[in-house]
């Protein structure tokens, strides 16, 4: 359930980031000046996406670690 919540939160949050409209000048690789090969979200926008992912999956890792500790207390070894 926690994983599902994290994924829903990730999708919901990142879906609100601006994507294509203002990206005409952001070329990743080569191409003619007027026609960029690839256009990507700006560095700042990508940092935001990474930040959200870090919070969610970092939180998930910490949560899993707590569950691991609890499982270890209950049945550490055979």
């Amino acid at each position: 359930m926690v994983t599902t919540l994290c994924l829903v939160a990730l999708l919901g949050t990142t879906a609100s980031f601006p994507q294509r409209d203002a990206l005409k000048d952001k070329t990743l690789v080569g191409g003619a000046e007027s026609v960029p090969i690839l256009t990507l979200p700006s560095y700042a926008e990508r940092i935001q996406i990474l930040g959200v992912a870090l919070v969610l999956f970092g939180g998930l890792a910490l949560l899993l670690n707590e569950k691991r500790k609890r499982a270890d207390r209950n049945s550490w070894s055979i």
């Binding site: 990142t14 879906a15 994507q19 294509r20 990743l28 690789v29 080569g30 191409g31 090969i37 690839l38 256009t39 990507l40 979200p41 990508r46 940092i47 996406i49 990474l50 992912a53 870090l54 999956f57 970092g58 998930l60 890792a61 899993l64 670690n65 569950k67 691991r68 499982a71 270890d72 049945s75 550490w76 070894s77 055979i78």
Partner: protein, 357 residues
Amino acid sequence: MKSDSGSGLYKWLDERLPVREVVDYLSKKVVPRHKHSFWYYLGGLTLFFFVIQIITGLLLSIYYKPSPDEAYESVRTIVNEVPFGWLIRSLHSWAANLMVGALFIHMFSVFLMKSYRKPRELMWVSGVLLLFLILGFGFTGYLLPWDTMAYFATLIGTEIPKTVPIIGDWGVSLLKGGDEIGAETLTRMYSIHIIILPLITIMAVSFHLLVNQVLGSSVPIGTVVKQPPIRFFPNFLYRDVISWTIGLIALLGLAILLPWGLGEKADPLASAPVGIKPEWYFLPLFQSLKFAPSNIFGISGELLTNLLVGVLSIVWLSIPFLDRKASREEQSPLFTTFGILLILYLLVTITMAYTTA
């Protein structure tokens, strides 16, 4: 005895299928604890990246068009227009590299811990076969974007096995679907990449995991085990999932901060760009071919290198049957030295290929 407890779905399934027996069987698996236990996580991590590959590959296949006229444009559409297409493609490319990296570390850790010894010979054989399959994924997937680098790297890559007597020409022609790299080649590479290799790989992975479930993890020869083993379910599985989450964070970091690029569209009539190189995991072969003189006692250096790689592959596959000492639970320093030298050779050739023009 059927379960009286558990969730509704569990009870429903348990009344129809031997779910409890399966869960009981799985929960009996234990994982040894010792100073080298860390390396046990690499196999699960490789599998995790493979699952990421399947998911992102499925999403990419919705938009990708495998024809020379449309392939390049469809990749551009995925990146430029499909919501989060850039991220999915970047995840696919980076996960492929991380998967190969994790697989190599897993394989060499297994080798150095001599975990291939009796009774785990079949685990090693299936693992080496999985290595070849994963390298096949890398080779067939490389052409798909149909950019200059992909085109010429595939052109050069498919020339190399041609020197192998009897089957070389036939194999290359079968893979390319003709003399040139064209529409037939792209269709074949695509079908091999998304249908044939995944089917074989899923079967090989299932077998590998089944043998692991039956035999459990091996303890390195001479390692003193002071602590009792832990249960796989749930104790080790929690650790596994935490390692996958860390792997996912690393993957997201790479995919977001260093998005995968795309070159110019391939022009078959143009000359190959200077300094063209394959992916890093093919660089040892690439560099070995550069080392080889053109002729050795009248035999082509390329042919000799190919034969040497073929022989090495067979030796590598047969390691559990060659290392008899390890099967008797004795140290086998000769094989350890061989493994270390091989690791050094791979690292040196990769570095040389990157640093030399």
